[in-house]
Symmetry: C2
Subunit: 316 residues, 2 copies
Amino acid sequence: MGEFELIERHFVRATPRAALGPGDDCALLAPAPGQQLAVTSDMLLEGRHFLATVPPVRLGHKALAVNLSDLAACGARPLAFTLALSLPRADEGFAAALARGLFALADAHDVELVGGDTTAGALSLCITAIGEVPAGGALLRSGARAGDQLWVSGHLGDARLALEVFRGHAALPAADFEAVRLAMECPQPRVALGLALRGLASSAIDVSDGLLGDLGHILRRSRVGARLELSALPCSAALAAQPQALRQECLLRGGDDYELLFTAPPHREAAVRAAGVAGGVAVTPIGVITAEPGLLAVDHDGRVQALPARGFDHFA
Amino acid sequence: MGEFELIERHFVRATPRAALGPGDDCALLAPAPGQQLAVTSDMLLEGRHFLATVPPVRLGHKALAVNLSDLAACGARPLAFTLALSLPRADEGFAAALARGLFALADAHDVELVGGDTTAGALSLCITAIGEVPAGGALLRSGARAGDQLWVSGHLGDARLALEVFRGHAALPAADFEAVRLAMECPQPRVALGLALRGLASSAIDVSDGLLGDLGHILRRSRVGARLELSALPCSAALAAQPQALRQECLLRGGDDYELLFTAPPHREAAVRAAGVAGGVAVTPIGVITAEPGLLAVDHDGRVQALPARGFDHFA
């Protein structure tokens, strides 16, 4: 099977929301009046962003999920995406499973694959996702203010715990392993939460490089500091059962969480909790924004320590 | 130097056209009212789309050029692009040269780098370019009509000739080699021509997979055929000096030309020639669209042969 046939069979579908879907030099989108376009690109490489052991259906899901997560962090409604795919060979079963995972998530968020590129090469996926947000209404990293509450959705650290099991640094009961592996391989982008936080959150980011690193982006962009309550960090039962050092590493520097980290004024707490309900995910207050720069962490015994707000660096 | 510093230093610049440039979860674009957005993605992999010998400044140019060429083929005005870059290591000299080539072309077309992704890995570049085109005004592959003239911009085949020299299958004088190597490594996207062809060309495509393959896309989408005058195909002096079999292969199946192939009614010939002048590139009539499906080629002696309208396939 050739390139064009492989694309045609597995990746070309009707795109009723787009003015023109795949098959020409470009796709055409017709954004609604008054909307700005939110644009984000993420590339996933085998061995770097995913293991060779990942089932292709989950890989298709994740490649789109990490991009939708960026749209969610801006409060944008997903509209369309492109996929540039390099595959070692035209493996029909692999392509079919990849497409199944991709389109299941796309359908769940009513977002269309409008174009892209396919080539032979080491396995990699590069997706660019485009969403709409009312002009001036995007959630940015730069809006946190002293006194704001700091919130995070879902749990943190499970994806990193799964990686540590794959690396042989941790062991888990089979059911727990499946759960944390699902967190790593099938993250759920918090699109509905991002939409519900429009006009409510003062800043937002998605946690992809680890809590400390991504919180650091908010603090630098907003020119503020934060005090983090370590005992408040939301944690699965599987991770809670791990030794304290590993647990803290996963929670603070885990990465690949794809939860939303955001701030909101304290008097909006009830509205934030309602946004969590609307978004179908738990939201947990984990600290407070301070006027003084820097990041302080309060541990379980009430001791305060300074933490470096740095995340994962691909070249460090 | 880490990932964030490398990006900050070489790839982050002011983006006055965008509502929000790099540095947040998404970039924000504010398209003008009445415009549709043209979106295209192309991925370039080392060893597949470029040789390890390519100077990084040319690689930066080419990665953007092939995407702007898709916008040109739709008659879209470039607006913004994202870059997902994987690099074997944080090599500052390489990144600086890559950025120089990328931004020189971006500046020439007033298009802004608004976001993207950087990771460690085998060298690859994935660019998504976004342009604007008046609603309903995009040039598509599907509009060719029987009787239309078939046109191509610039020369064909030089990029393929350069590749054959690198492969050791052809030899050229040094000056000719530099010229065809420039065609391969620094293609010029025909953006101004694409804009000038709005409302004039009945169909258009950019020649990336070879003339026959890309013409085939127009014929299939427009449900027409074509008669091609082989003696009319525009050819550099360097390629004209090659043996006939190699010359014809480069012209018909070369690929990587990034010229515009388009159709227009014959009574618009003067306007098409004026569009070539406005676009700063020669335009040459090379055949005619026919109602009968299929592709016929008229050779230098007036003999007619049927040709398969197939292009390069990454998995064939």
